[in-house]
């Protein structure tokens, strides 16, 4: 079947069976290797992408499920060379250690801030509990979300 969907704002068409995992389409067919596979069972969140803006595990998603929909991967979060505020904040606060879980955590954090511009720590914990990180202890990730939140709200006020 012909799969038509949007990946990182670009209309994309691929010949598929419908049964491929979306993570494999992204990594192997489209070369978007920023999406990582940590478990293949939807348990670690490393393969998180945004599907119509909501975080999902791309290892649990089949190609037929994304027809006509919009996917954002970590490569699509930044615009050209300029980083998304969440990406900049992760680098700034020290929220990155090994970095393997980072794309998933950045995307989940971006989705959270799109939903709740100034989340509490409890809201962050709930929103990020599906993205496992074994290095950081999450403290500096929370700090990154708070920093991104401040910067995004300031930017929004400035634009008004």
């Amino acid at each position: 079947m012909k799969l038509k969907f949007t990946v990182n704002r670009r209309a994309t068409t691929l010949e598929v069976t419908g049964a491929e995992r979306v993570i494999d389409l992204l990594r192997e067919r489209l070369g978007l290797v920023g999406t990582k596979e940590g478990c293949g069972k939807g348990e670690c969140g490393a393969c998180t992408v945004l599907l119509d803006g909501s975080p999902v595990c791309s290892c649990l998603l089949l190609s037929s499920q994304v027809a006509g929909r919009e996917i954002t991967t970590i490569e699509g979060l930044s615009e050209g060379e300029s980083l998304h505020p969440v990406q900049a904040a992760f680098a700034e606060t020290g929220a990155v250690q090994c970095g393997f879980c980072t794309p998933g955590l950045v995307l989940s954090s971006a989705a959270l801030l799109a939903d709740i511009p100034a989340p509490s720590r409890e809201q962050m914990k709930r929103a990020l509990a599906g993205n496992l990180c074994r290095c950081t202890g999450y403290q500096k990730i929370f700090e990154a979300v708070e920093l991104a939140s401040r910067n995004m709200r300031r930017e929004k006020r400035r634009r008004r």
Binding site: R27, V33, G34, T35, K36, E37, G38, C39, G40, K41, E43, C44, A46, T73, I74, E75, S78, L83, Q87, A88, F90, A91, E92, T93, G94, V96, Q97, C98, G99, F100, C101, T102, P103, V106, M124, K125, R126, L128, A129, G130, N131, L132, C133, R134, C135, T136, G137, Y138, Q139, K140, I141, F142
Partner: protein, 759 residues
């Protein structure tokens, strides 16, 4: 100091937030095949026959390799040489590799691996560590199934116990802890037409990998080239295991003359790769009425699994750390690592010490309780200070900041000392120490190399033999190079660790990278500085001895006089065709160990720490909520405080997993029951309490800028702090990890039947 000590941004973090593909599975080579491993389904058996025909008939399957195809030796050399690369006559644990299957696609290789049928004659396995030791019939290793026995004999414990006013004796147990790095083990081999083979992958120890591949392929070291790819967490789990993966890709790549990639499936990774040794401890400690720790007797047994891997070294660290960071004149330790028919255990942050420190620090609180002393006070009366001697007879002279870590935690926490309220909230303390580097058990590996090149345009590249695992080594070493040469940090670039660029520099373990590679880089940079200063001296007409490098310029040591920007000095050297590249080398100060008495200078120096946990325990359900953690660490010098805090915060959360939820176990057939993230529970964002990290700096004179290694220490004292806090909160003492709600609930129920008299 311009750069050392500053909170500069981790150098690779911009690539990581953009998802730049630098991990092993992100790499692809033309004609690359995928490997999958055929593994033993049982814990112990004799191999009768390996049938590969059906697997090879599957479309896309290319080849199957068994031990018969190995051109070199069928051994993965680590410390001893007891572990085969592919099983020959026997399998000794569930998940032991038997064959490697190759196919054009990963899924095909995995499916074909399931079609290799291995006829096995099952034998009864030994799964219990205490039964394994001196088992009457089954001999998995030597006569007694003991890979290594270590002892410490100091003073006279029997006499000392008879003069003690309180004696506490208990048994403790801890289970497996799985590393759960988020990137599974992964490796690629690329054979080259010139007869060399390149290995690229996720690893801690490129030189271990090289040794294993040369052994299995029967090649000289000059023809095996190992490069570390970006590595997605390790924690010890990528110390020895990548050697096995490298052989699993190198053999087929060498035979088929094609690149081969292997990535473990998460469950396969959890079933077949190393973990923290399960332990059993019998611990007896005694003190006098005035709170002086007089005597300690410890029997420590850990489960090494089917092959010895790193177990003798793990046991060494556990043994040296057996009595905690205290003065004690009468100590008897007997420690054993035994062989069982379970997965080989190995390195994991703390390396044999978290298990024994759980026991040691639980004992200290029980002594305090019996003596009617505050836990902090009992520790203060016994903790090691400069001038004291450790239980191995090592005299401590400098960089002993333990008491300051205790003071800082007490001060920051405001731990209430008044009447205890019955609100289910409790505080628990632990004081711990960490022997920096490999110590006497690994002293033959205690050297490192480095190479630094200053380019004509002023940019700098450097190479070291230790690796970046997420701990921040690249950034810290870049800061040191920038500091030494006076060049801006953004001009300094580390080249991926590569066995062809520096001599064997030993493993990236034992929190040794900052000190070892840092010192080797200082050595190399010193040689380049000499050239730069000589050139500046010539131009400025000031003697070299009167010049300094300060923030990007060569300036006179005295106030006035002409100066020269570093990039100008570099240009001048380039024009004069002077060499601005150098090799550096560092060898650790000496360590010693007497196998008979366990006496000696066990490690070059020690890091020190105090942890305090505040918990709330639900009396109805036994559930523990960690409300807050405080941790102070004497790190000598924090080259980058943000990264040091990152080590503390991450180590604490791993320690909380070890303390409360991580419970991997095998069934009666030796099969791991919970090899995935839905059943093996590591802490999530939702479980992360507020953490206060405090850095204490008592400089270590032999470390770069005073720094000591400490990356492992943050995990080590967390479990006993939590156990002590649970006792403080609801009056029950849990001696077996993890501290699950069931254990607390059961202990609360039985303590209601027998009233508690203490506290």
């Amino acid at each position: 100091m311009a750069v050392v000590g500053r909170r500069v941004r981790r150098v690779e973090s911009l690539d990581r937030v953009k998802g730049v593909g630098s991990f092993t599975d992100d790499l692809t080579y033309a004609g690359m095949l995928h490997a999958a491993v055929v593994r033993s389904p049982v814990a112990r058996a004799r191999i009768k026959h390996i049938e590969t025909g059906r697997a090879l008939r599957r479309a896309g399957a290319e080849a199957v390799f068994t031990f018969q195809d190995i051109p070199g030796r069928n051994v993965v050399p680590i410390i001893l040489e007891d572990q085969p690369f592919l099983a020959e006559e026997y399998v000794n644990y569930v998940g032991e590799p038997i064959a490697v299957v190759l196919a054009s696609e990963r899924e095909t290789a995995r499916a074909a691996a399931k079609e290799v049928s291995v006829r096995l004659e099952e034998l009864p396995p030994i799964l219990d560590l205490l039964k394994a030791r001196r088992h009457p019939r089954v001999h998995l290793f030597g006569e007694d199934n003991v890979f290594k026995h270590l002892r410490i004999r100091r003073g006279d414990t029997a006499a000392a116990f008879s003069s003690c006013d309180v004696i506490v004796e208990n048994e403790y147990r801890t289970p497996y802890q799985e590393h759960a790095y988020i990137e599974p083990e992964a490796m690629i081999a690329i054979p080259h037409p010139d007869g060399t083979i390149e290995i690229r992958g996720s690893m801690q120890c490129p030189f271990y990998v090289r040794k294993a591949v040369t052994s299995v392929l029967g090649l000289p070291e000059s023809r095996v080239w190992v490069v570390q790819a970006a590595t997605g967490g390790a924690f010890g789990g990528k110390e020895d295991v990548p050697s096995l993966l490298a052989c699993q890709v190198a053999l087929p790549a060498w035979k088929l003359k094609k690149p081969v990639k292997l990535v473990y499936d998460r469950t396969e990774d959890m079933v077949s790769t190393s973990k923290r040794h399960p332990s059993w401890v019998r611990y007896k400690s005694g003190a006098t009425r005035d709170g002086v720790l007089k005597a300690v007797e410890v029997e420590y047994v850990i489960d090494g699994g089917a092959y010895s891997t790193l177990s003798p070294a793990v046991l060494y660290r556990g043994t040296v750390h057996a009595a905690g960071p205290y003065r004690c004149d009468n100590v008897k330790v007997d420690s054993y690592v035994v062989a069982t028919n379970r997965v080989p255990t190995g390195a994991f942050r703390g390396f044999g010490s978290p298990q024994i420190l759980f026991a040691a620090e639980s004992q200290m609180d029980q002594l305090a309780e019996r003596l009617g002393l505050h836990p902090a006070e009992l520790r203060r009366r016994n903790l090691l200070r400069a001038g004291d001697t450790t239980i191995t007879g090592q005299k401590l002279t400098v960089s002993v900041g333990l008491e300051e870590t205790l003071d800082r935690v007490l001060e920051a926490s405001g731990w209430p000392t008044g009447q205890k309220r019955d609100d289910g909230v409790g505080y628990g303390l632990s004081t711990v120490f960490y022997g920096v580097g490999l110590g006497a058990a690994g002293k033959h590996l205690a050297r490192t190399g480095a190479r630094v090149i200053v380019h004509a345009d002023g940019s700098v590249t450097f190479s070291v033999g230790t690796t970046e695992l997420g701990q921040g080594m690249t950034t810290v070493l870049s800061q040191i190079v920038s500091e030494e040469l006076g060049t801006p940090l953004e001009c300094v670039q580390m080249i991926a660790p590569d066995t062809s660029r520096v001599p064997d520099s030993g493993p990236t373990v034992a929190s040794r990278s900052t000190t070892m590679s840092g010192n080797a880089l200082k050595d190399a940079c010193g040689k380049i500085r000499d050239v730069l200063l000589a050139e500046a001296s010539r131009a400025l007409r000031i003697p070299v001895s009167d010049l300094r490098i300060v923030e990007g310029a060569i300036v006179p040591a005295k106030e006035e006089g002409p100066s020269m920007p570093i990039d100008e000095a570099i240009k001048s050297c380039t024009t004069a065709r002077l060499p601005l590249s150098a090799e550096g080398w560092h060898v650790s100060t000496s360590t010693s160990w007497d196998d008979r008495t366990g006496q000696g200078d066990a490690y070059v120096t020690y890091a020190w720490a105090t942890n305090l946990a505040k918990v709330r325990v639900d009396r109805e359900t036994g559930e523990v909520t960690v409300l807050k953690m405080w941790a102070a660490h004497d790190v000598g010098k924090a080259v980058n405080p943000t990264l040091a805090e990152g080590q503390i915060e991450g180590g604490i959360l791993q320690g909380l997993g070890f303390a409360l939820t991580e419970n991997m176990f095998t069934d009666e057939r030796g099969v791991i029951v919970n090899p995935d993230f839905s059943t093996y529970i590591i802490p999530t964002a939702a479980d992360s309490p507020e953490i206060v990290s405090l850095l204490v700096e008592h400089p270590y004179p032999d470390g770069p800028h005073g720094a000591k290694g400490f990356g492992e220490q943050p995990l080590m004292g967390v479990a006993p702090a939590v156990a002590n806090a649970v006792r403080d909160a609801v009056g029950v003492r849990i001696t077996e990890l993890p501290i699950t709600p069931e254990k607390i609930w059961n202990a609360l129920r039985s303590s209601r039947r027998v009233p508690v008299t203490q506290r």
